[in-house]
Subunit: 135 residues, 2 copies
Amino acid sequence: MGYLRIGELSKRTETNNETLRFYETKGLIDAPRRSEAGYRLYTADAVERVNFIVRAKRMGFSLKEVTELLSLQVEESDSTCGEVKQLAETKLADIELKIIELEKMRDALQKITAACCGGEESAVHCTILNALAAH
Amino acid sequence: MGYLRIGELSKRTETNNETLRFYETKGLIDAPRRSEAGYRLYTADAVERVNFIVRAKRMGFSLKEVTELLSLQVEESDSTCGEVKQLAETKLADIELKIIELEKMRDALQKITAACCGGEESAVHCTILNALAAH
DNA sequence: CTTTACCCTCTTGTTAACTTTAGGGTTTAC
DNA sequence: GTAAACCCTAAAGTTAACAAGAGGGTAAAG
């Protein structure tokens, strides 16, 4: 009880069974324990992990990068702490850059929607490139 | 004068000649005028356009989605204004969601880098998933 | 005036990230 | 107890997004 079979996990993560097995072969999710018949039995935190993968992918991270993100952990051992911190900071910079660029796009799109069908100035000629150009 | 050949354009956009020709076949950039010998001659705004494509791709938009973003323009005709606004708003929602999720990741990463090698609490066991779970 | 760096088209190859197919066993609902 | 729904592996197929190669013109520097 409390275990999820693969179909249940895929339903809760907007994935499908094949993708989950694929992620397992790629090392993105741990091989779970199996039932007597060989069925995969996942615990609840698999849902978190898979959802993280799905979200990170939507952000434009490759599976290789997602693997790196997931590998980030500060252990008690503390021996690899320097590398971890280094990697985390690199990824942090990546993410901050993405946020900034997305904010620019958002502003440009807001200009477009504001200029469009907004009343008097509705007949303006405007593209996302123009909106971005106009800072 | 004032025209760029393909090599010049690729240098200014972190792309390469093959990619630019590929984007042309896919309709992401307009077929430019040609020299007598058949060389592509780009104008300066090609640089803007290609850079936009590059940035949007880094954000996790597919070429198909980039095409949609680039097609967003409010024309004087005003006939398609409703659709344009609709599409722009959909993309805007996409982008805003991405920003929010990236901000969550950023916060989680900041927690990791703060906890790591930060002095007294350096021996804490911490992963990005934990950091995300802890709100 | 020729060598070196560019450019062209067309075809084929590559990589990532799945998806589908084939050929089976297992669980569960009637 | 038998269908329908679910699960397994292994291998082949697919799609997006390029990259590379073949074979051949063009531009510009010495």
